[in-house]
């Protein structure tokens, strides 16, 4: 199930915006809703089945920031339209209560379609990070407590004479008997399942690589060599090493096979020895063909192969470099177009590969140099925020903290002046978004393991950066983890008053205390905040899903040979180390 986020940022009606008391009353009204939700007295958000998180806050008007805005943050399962239609059809009163103070919000009697259209006119986020990708709320709820249930079942068998594998089998059958719905394991998206950041995926890819290399070697060394061999001697050269080794291995295996057997069993054991011998022969089969190939290939041919290979590598490098540059400046669509055009050009004009590579490297280096020089000048002249903390502000923004495991953070900061700053920020957010989607989809954003849903938005009509995050633990720990992540300085280094960075990514947030005070000062009060599972951490959710997947995995049978290896690549098994981790390391 794909998750989506929607951020509805709407200007507040002048009747509120121009009247301090009305605004205060609106704020108080939302705060009361928020308090009731947090205390468990108001359960209407719980009844929205696909909703993970919801928050509501008000963006204030200041000297630098124009207008008053109400922000409604939604994180949910499935597509935007069906979700909003469901909410409008079933929770219209709630929406009216939250959004009736906004300009353009349809009157209470208006039909549902108008309200849906109004909500669909939302502000796209520049970067979105989801800590538990493809985990629907239903799935998270189903899997809650799985760890404890497994532990309880393991405790039941702790006193029995069973092997580790038997105890795990007992757990599997017990859990499935209690909760048959856990038998179906929702598949994670391909980008998550094939992400090389996951060590198990790396191991599988490496195994697949080995099998692939073996197959290529076999085709090149045996099949192709045998077909291309011109004389009987050459064919003999291809076939001799595997045949000789196969016969020798079969002899050894027969000699080492168990004795004292009845004839029927002995024949079977010898049959297995012959199969093992043939398998051993298959491993070395390419040797003869490769020797033959080395003997008949001309130096000119070898040179040609090397030239083509290095040309292809240069082309790939050129395309990657230029694509990264285009992506930084113009985004995904332009990158795809540029990559296609460049590939086509290099295909048609292969002799232009070297000048293209040199030109690309030169241009990228020049752009980087100019950028570094400009950005450093801006950084050197930037003014760093260092004001007194406002106690009233602190009281307001911290009142929802420490009441459950999760916390909400809304922060609004002014983007530093100048086009370069804005473009740099957009570029960095583009990378954050891309990397979050492609690489950081394993439950952690670089070193930060506590974010459920987070998004960066540049609100319409304001030169500010809005950051909305639903995270685990305390503000201090969260920001402490932030201060060690390079990307944080790269993002907020483009905002006014941020601790001074060096060349965009260095220093900045590393001044941890200063950074935390700056973040607190930029925080916006979360008037309403709802979490469907306020006491579950990302790690717990992740662990529960992992356990559910492990329940469905077969136990490794230590099979040898290519077929067993291919089987393990296609369908991972629980080896001894994983069993120990599941049972003792839980």
């Amino acid at each position: 199930m794909t998750q989506h986020v929607s951020t509805i940022i709407k200007p507040i009606k002048p009747i509120y915006a121009n009247d301090v008391e009305a605004l205060k009353a609106l704020r108080e009204h939302l705060r009361v809703i928020g308090d009731n939700v947090q205390a468990g007295l108001d359960t209407r958000f719980h009844r929205i089945p696909d909703l993970h998180f919801l928050s509501c806050c008000i963006l204030e008007q200041t000297k630098e920031r124009s207008g008053w805005f109400l922000v409604l943050e939604l994180s949910f399962d499935g597509d935007v339209r069906p979700f909003l239609e469901w909410v409008v059809n079933h929770q219209r009163a709630t929406l009216d209560e939250l959004l009736s103070s906004c300009e353009g919000y349809p009157a209470p009697g208006a039909n549902s379609r108008e309200v849906v259209d109004y909500l669909l006119d939302s502000t796209p986020a520049q970067a979105v990070y989801i800590g538990t990708p493809a985990r629907s709320r239903r799935q998270i709820e189903d899997e809650t407590g799985l760890r404890k249930r497994i532990a309880a079942r393991l405790d039941k068998t702790a006193g029995l004479a069973m092997s580790r594998a038997q105890r795990w089998q007992d757990v599997v059958s017990g859990i499935y008997a209690e909760s048959p719905e856990l038998r179906t394991v929702p598949k994670r998206p391909l980008r998550v399942r094939l992400n090389p950041a996951d060590p198990t995926v790396r191991a599988r890819l490496a195994a697949a690589g080995r099998i692939g290399a073996g197959t290529i070697l076999w085709i090149a060394g045996v099949a192709a060599a045998f077909v291309l061999a011109r004389t009987a001697w050459q064919r003999a050269l291809v076939l001799t090493p595997p045949l000789a080794l196969g016969v020798w291995a079969t002899g050894v295996f027969i000699r080492l096979s168990p004795g004292g057997l009845v004839r029927r069993v002995r024949v079977r054991v010898w049959g297995q020895a012959i199969r093992d011998g043939a398998r051993t022969a298959l491993y070395v089969a390419p040797a003869g063909g490769l020797v033959l190939a080395a003997g008949v290939l001309e130096p000119a041919g070898v040179g040609r192969v090397l030239l083509v290979t290095s040309g292809a590598l240069l082309a790939v490098l050129t395309i990657v470099l230029s694509s990264a540059t285009v992506f930084s400046m113009f985004g995904g669509v332009a990158t795809a177009a540029a990559a296609i055009v460049e590939t086509a050009l290099l295909w048609w004009f292969p002799r232009a590969i070297v000048p293209a590579f040199v030109g690309t490297v030169t241009i990228v280096a020049a752009l980087l140099f100019v950028f570094a020089w400009r950005i450093r000048r801006l950084e050197a002249n930037s003014k760093v925020w260092d004001e007194q903390d406002s106690l009233n502000h602190l009281r307001a923004v911290t009142r929802r903290e420490y009441q459950q495991l999760q916390t909400h953070l809304a922060s609004e900061t002014d983007i530093a002046r100048g086009t370069l700053r804005m473009r740099t920020l957009c570029s960095v957010l583009r990378w954050v978004n891309g990397l979050s989607w492609l690489i950081f989809n394993q439950g952690h954003l670089d070193k930060i393991t506590s974010i459920h849903f987070a998004r960066f938005i540049v609100p319409p009509g304001r030169r500010t950066l809005l950051f909305l995050s639903n995270y685990d633990g305390r503000f201090e720990d969260y920001l402490g983890a932030f201060s060690t992540v390079t990307g944080v300085t790269a993002v907020w280094g483009n905002t006014a008053g941020f601790p001074r960075p060096f060349l965009l990514v260095f220093d900045g947030a590393r001044a941890e205390n200063h950074f935390k005070r700056y973040a607190r000062a930029s925080q916006v009060e979360s008037l309403v905040w709802f979490s469907a599972y306020p006491n579950l951490s990302v790690a717990e959710i992740d662990r529960a899903t992992y356990l559910r997947e492990a329940l469905a995995q077969p136990i490794d049978r230590h099979g040898a040979g290519v077929i067993a290896a291919v089987g393990r690549v296609l369908r991972p098994t629980l080896d001894e180390q994983t069993l120990v981790y599941l049972m003792d390391g839980r």
Partner: protein, 390 residues
């Protein structure tokens, strides 16, 4: 192997290769590895190989494990004097049949017959019928029992699955062996003989100290652990002693009483141990060793614990010289392992081995025997022919 491991030990007592394979070579390090049974466990090298059901080696070491280990230890201690007497009788009886032989197969003519007869009397079971098997081709019931035990027990000491067709053969044998043991247990459940292991297990079962379904795995476990390795041990010891005689070292003491025979046995097994290398598994990253030999052991690593190297460590004075009277016993020597899986039946095994060794060395003109190469069936000794010099 002794040369290689000795050289490697002198370079470093613990060697980590490619973050996956760890060779433990020093005596202290070997002991530490084997003592830390929960850090360095049998893991995949134990559990899946117990074809007759979970025995101590294949069990998750928890409460039941501790209970059963204590119970078996208690039974073996109780029956020690009895087995010593049986082993003496059977060894003398078998040796008497070999007095005039010019050549003999130590495994099949000497060790196997003694071990299986002692096993029958000690464990309290009869011999099976040849018709009980459809897999093996034994000459008689005695040989069938030996073959079953050898095939099923061999799986424990090999890689998993056992190679060269052994796994499938062992699995078939395990089914037959199980059916036979079930019959034996059923027959003797009514009036258990307390002087046998089975009788003791049944008594404890009747007393409610052992579950009914645990009698068979424990009986089979003790039989597997206490039969094939014994044959291998006595074969290795005799081989080593005859080799020393050929080197004109004459290791046989003038007065061959039990203590002298025991010291000779341990010295011979030090040179040619039954299990030169045992394997352990490290599920979580740990530190091993002290001082300069301290190493990080990565998670998921396999540890090759080289007993053969530790038995020649500098802690043993003049380790490379065969000293027949070198003090050694079951508790101080690494021959029977160490730590959590220190051989439970080491006293019983020593008594039996000493009796066999004394009987063999009591053969007339034993020094004239010339050893050949030991042949193996999987990890079990299958044939060891010795001939008198012309």
């Amino acid at each position: 192997m002794r040369l290689l491991t000795g050289l490697a030990r002198r370079i470093a007592a613990i060697q980590v290769v490619k973050h996956k394979h760890v060779f433990v070579l020093g005596a202290d390090e070997v002991r530490e590895t084997l003592v830390r049974g929960s850090d360095f466990e049998l893991g995949p090298f134990g559990g899946p190989k117990m074809l007759m059901g979970p025995f101590l080696l294949g069990m998750d070491p928890r409460a039941q494990y501790e209970r059963e280990r204590d119970l078996l230890r208690q039974i073996l201690e109780l029956l020690l004097s009895h087995v010593t007497a049986i082993a003496g009788e059977e060894s003398a009886r078998q040796a008497a049949t070999l007095v005039d032989r010019r050549s003999l197969d130590v495994v099949n003519d000497f060790a196997e017959p003694i071990v299986r007869r002692v096993a029958c009397r000690f464990f309290g079971i009869g011999f099976p019928q040849v018709a009980d098997t459809r897999v093996l081709a034994p000459a008689n019931g005695e040989e069938l029992l030996s073959q079953w035990v050898r095939k099923v027990g061999s799986v424990i000491a090999t890689t998993s699955p056992a190679p060269f067709g052994l796994q499938r053969v062992a699995e078939s044998c395990a089914g037959e062996f199980r059916a036979y043991l079930e019959r034996e247990i059923q027959q003797r459940a009514g009036c258990p003989d307390p002087k046998t292991v089975l009788g003791q297990l049944l008594c404890h079962m009747h007393a409610g100290e052992l579950a009914q379904e645990r009698v068979l795995p424990n009986l089979a476990g003790l039989m597997l652990a206490g039969s094939t390795p014994l044959v291998k041990s006595i074969t290795h010891a005799i081989d080593q002693i005859l080799r020393q005689i050929r080197r004109r070292a004459d290791p046989i003491p003038a007065v061959l009483d039990d203590p002298a025979a025991k010291r000779l046995l341990f010295e011979a097994l030090r040179f040619n141990p039954t299990f030169p290398v045992v394997i352990r598994y490290c599920p979580f990253a740990k530190l091993l060793g002290g001082g300069q030999s301290r190493r990080d052991i990565p998670d998921g690593a396999s540890l090759y614990v080289a007993l053969i190297s530790a038995l020649f460590d500098a802690e043993i004075g003049d380790a490379d010289v065969f000293v027949a009277g070198r003090p050694a016993d079951e508790d101080s020597s690494l021959v029977f392992g160490w730590g959590q899986h220190h051989c439970l039946g080491r006293y019983v095994a020593t008594a039996e081995l000493v009796a066999m060794l004394r009987a063999f060395l009591g053969l007339p003109r034993v020094k004239e025997f010339k050893p050949s190469r030991i042949r193996y069936d999987g990890p079990a000794a299958a044939r060891f022919v010795i001939r008198r010099r012309a």
